[in-house]
Each structure stands twice: as C-alpha cells, then as structure tokens.
C-alpha cells in the first residue's frame, strides 16, 4: 500500500466510492464497452434481418456468413458480452435498490465471473460444435 502526498494511504478501492478503482471501476468500463459493441451489432442485426423483405435467397445468403468459422467465434464473443452486460446490469440494480447491495458489490462481481464461466463453457461447446466438426471432424 503506497502513501500519497497528503499522507493518505491509497487502497485499491477507496472506502465510500463505488467507481474509483478495483472491481467497481472495471465492471463499469466493461459495461460501457460491451454496451457500445452490442448497440452497433444491433444495427447490423436489424439490417440483415430486414433482408427477409427482399427475398429468401438474399436472407439465406447473409445468414450463411453467420455460419462461417470466424463469424461463429464472434458470436461466442457476442453471447459473452450479452451475458456480462445482463449480469452486471442486475448487479447495478441490486447496488441501487437492495440495502446491502453496495456492501456486497465486490462479491457480486466475482459471482458474475463464476456464473459467466459456468454458462460460457458449455455454451462455447454447443455454439461451435458444428464448426469444430467441420474443421477437425473426420466423419459426418
């Protein structure tokens, strides 16, 4: 623990603040980054879905790009971003409305990390099994 010029000790997260340093700050940063990313994806996603009004062939062609290995991996990232944004959003609501929320915000952050991993590991398997099969599989 270092000491600054005023002689106060610098903690990772100063007492009484939520967003300066530590878990409170990094979840805030991640919430913004995932939020902006999801907003831009949403624009693209409404535009690609709008192709159902052009023709079935046009829609099937654009959806085919979603099935390619690289875009398939991006979809895993998309689901990961949505999951974090959703869970951290619930954490923010609990901090705001639950009396003990601010006290347990750090534990909630690590809870989010645990649940996120618990879902993403099988999620990764089910989302990419076709791609993995197509690249490495010998049969089917």
């Amino acid at each position: 623990m270092s000491v600054n010029t005023q002689g106060f000790s610098l903690r990772a997260t100063p007492i009484g603040t939520l967003y300066r340093g530590g878990e409170g700050m990094w979840t805030w940063v991640l919430h913004r980054i995932t939020g902006v990313s999801l907003f831009f994806f949403l624009f693209v996603h409404v535009l690609d879905t709008a192709l159902v009004r052009v023709s079935p062939a046009a829609y099937d062609e654009i959806i085919a790009t979603y099935k390619t290995p690289i875009v398939n991996l991006l979809e895993v990232g998309l689901v990961g971003a949505v999951l974090f944004h959703a869970f951290n959003g619930i954490r923010i609501i609990l901090i705001d409305f639950w009396a003990k929320g601010p006290r347990y915000q750090r534990q909630m952050t690590w809870g989010i990390a645990a649940v996120w991993l618990l879902i993403m590991i099988p999620g990764f398997y089910f989302m990419t099994i076709h791609t993995i099969d197509a690249i490495f599989g010998s049969t089917s």
Partner: protein, 133 residues
C-alpha cells in the same frame, strides 16, 4: 425592507429542472431487467439449442413469425433494446464529447439512425410475407 436574497431553492434554475434524467435512469433499470429475459431467451434459441445458428434460414424465420407470440417477443425486444441502447449511447456522448457542437451533432446522428432502425425493424415484423419468393 425587502431583500435581494432569494429563499433557498427558489432560483429559476431549480424551477426549470425537469425529471428527464431521473426517468431515463429508471427506464434503463426497468428495460434492462425485461431485456435480460427477452435477449437471453433469444440467444439460447438462436445460438445454442438444436444446432444453433446453423439451422437458421428464411423458412426458420417464417416458422417463428407465424406465431404472434414470437412477433410480440421480437417487437418488444427491438423497441426496448434500441431505446435502452440509444439512451446508453446518449449518456456516453454526453460524457466524452466535450465541444457543444460535437455533442449536438453526434446526438442528432444517434437519434436519426436509431429511429430509422426501429422503424425499419417494426415494418419488417409487421409486413413479413412468407410467399415473397
């Protein structure tokens, strides 16, 4: 003797303050909570169950939008996600764009493009035609 000092909290700035940001703050929490269910349900169905994205095509979309349940689901998701995301982007522009002009035009661009996407998506859901091919 009259005084030039106004009573506390009575200056004109306070009178003109609106609760817009308070309602925005509340809207992010309510819409966010609903979106957790709508979007996670959407992702589980579209990306994980039964082959995930590999089975999606025009026929799959047609099958889903034959049901009013999924039409309402997708329409709610469209409106809530874009207003929730739009308000988030508004906050971020207000935070990082320092010049008044930059802030104003970035927000105009945001409002116009977001409105366009909401209207387009709504039209797509309401005018979907299975026999278009």
């Amino acid at each position: 003797m009259s005084t030039a000092v106004l009573a506390p909290r009575s200056d004109s700035r306070n009178k003109q303050r609106s609760n817009f940001e308070l309602y925005g703050w509340l809207f992010m929490r309510i819409s966010g909570l609903i979106l957790v269910f709508l979007v996670l349900g959407h992702l589980v169905i579209m990306n994980i169950l039964d082959g995930g994205v590999q089975r999606i095509n025009f026929a799959f979309v047609a099958g889903r939008w034959a049901s009013p349940f999924w039409q309402v689901w997708d329409l709610s998701m469209l409106w809530l996600a874009l207003t929730h995301g739009g308000n988030g982007m508004r906050t971020i522009i207000n935070d990082y764009a320092e010049r008044d002009q930059t802030r104003f035009w970035l927000k105009m661009l945001l409002y116009v493009s977001t409105t366009f996407i909401i209207v387009l998506g709504t039209l797509v859901i309401f005018t979907f035609d299975v026999s278009i091919g």
